[in-house]
Symmetry: C2
Subunit: 279 residues, 2 copies
Amino acid sequence: MGCLATTHTKAIQKVDVPTFDWPIAPFPKLRYPLEEFVRENAQEEARCLEEVEDLIVKWGKRGKPVAGIVIEPIQAEGGDNHASCDFYRKLREIARKHGCAFHVDEVQTGGGSTGKFWAHEHWGLDDPADIVSFSKKMLTGGYYHKADFSPDKPFRIFNTWLGDQTKNLFLTEVLKVIKTERLLEEVKRSGKVMLQGLYELQTRYPHLLNTARGIGTFCAINVKDEATRNNLILKARNKGVVLGGCGVTSIRFRPALVFKEHHAHLFLNIFNDALAELN
Amino acid sequence: MGCLATTHTKAIQKVDVPTFDWPIAPFPKLRYPLEEFVRENAQEEARCLEEVEDLIVKWGKRGKPVAGIVIEPIQAEGGDNHASCDFYRKLREIARKHGCAFHVDEVQTGGGSTGKFWAHEHWGLDDPADIVSFSKKMLTGGYYHKADFSPDKPFRIFNTWLGDQTKNLFLTEVLKVIKTERLLEEVKRSGKVMLQGLYELQTRYPHLLNTARGIGTFCAINVKDEATRNNLILKARNKGVVLGGCGVTSIRFRPALVFKEHHAHLFLNIFNDALAELN
């Protein structure tokens, strides 16, 4: 229920499920490429941070104090929305100031696809996240947290396998491969090719594509409307490339960590062919 | 939340978790050995079935129709409480009559420890359960259900790995071993030794033990009080045997499926030594 209450994923998954009464703060809607809209984006982020603090104060007065802030390093299901490192550092300060736990959801971003093992490493926090959750690239689901957040009673959180050793074996292997095959460096290299390629495609097809963005291979691009987006995904699939949508008109790219520069070139050619058919 | 609302496990796990408003019917409190108290037990079961039907009617009138009945073939966390096959068949009829789904929770009983693959196979139902959940012995958690209970929309139930193939690999292997090593037959043999041994021990230590009961190796025995029960578990542990409590004064036995007759003898000797120290 907690997951479904926070997610921005498909509405069908929330039907008939009760939800929690909690405040949702706006995530900054930035203009891309980020380096061209620094001043406008800083204003938008300041607006959102102010709203976060207002909500915390307002809910506190209503006798429903905000226990924690849940935030993604890139708002993924919501449409691959980015925010600056400065935004996240200030958000962390707001959490600390008001005694809210700071939970960084790295389910999609964690495990290396942004070129660092944790996407929030990009931020340069002076006080680490209180709780970090992860999954996807790490072939399991889990979380880690500061010692203060341990349950205060034995058996408070308990299940049959207490962590599932078999999943830990997988995780150990995943971590080993990431390290020995230097996959974070691969991600940086192939991510650069990807993003550069997406910039070129949106220049070539400005009436179809806009707002290319990304860190590492964690990239996305917007299509002019939802129907065209879905059609483009279909055309790519018929050429052997599986893409996923996010938000209303975005396509998100989530290649595996073993995705290399030549894969990026291969993909960009196929994507170009699919776009040419729509042209 | 649904799991925590239905379980009879440790109270600490429910603290601070919201719960659902739903009716809990009494589970029969039978006298053991079952074959000695047939008439009394049939009366107790009839009382409980009547209460189930009353609750369904009462909640229906209140505009909160009962969607389903959740039942274990042996009420496990509640203290290893048994009921007759006749009780379960009648309960299934009540569910059908009132349009309630009939969900058999085989998390603890499923996978072979009662000498049949599913404990509810002992009942001889003419209409199968609508939903069966399982875990434990099957090294994964899952459920199966009648086709009518499939979600009516795509993506209604969805997660990243859609069933987790790695768990299916484990499950395939578990099923293979159960079959090729004829583990259900082993369970019947070692379970007979276990239960016979527990009967003998409660005759030898009548002031400490009572109410030995079980099907296959899924056995339990009651200790005179909670403190003595916990002390007995500790003494057994110090002799190399890990036991678990259930209910307030019960000890439950949940050996692995590879538990053989000689393991049962080995255990009974150690358990006898632990009891002798308490004597």
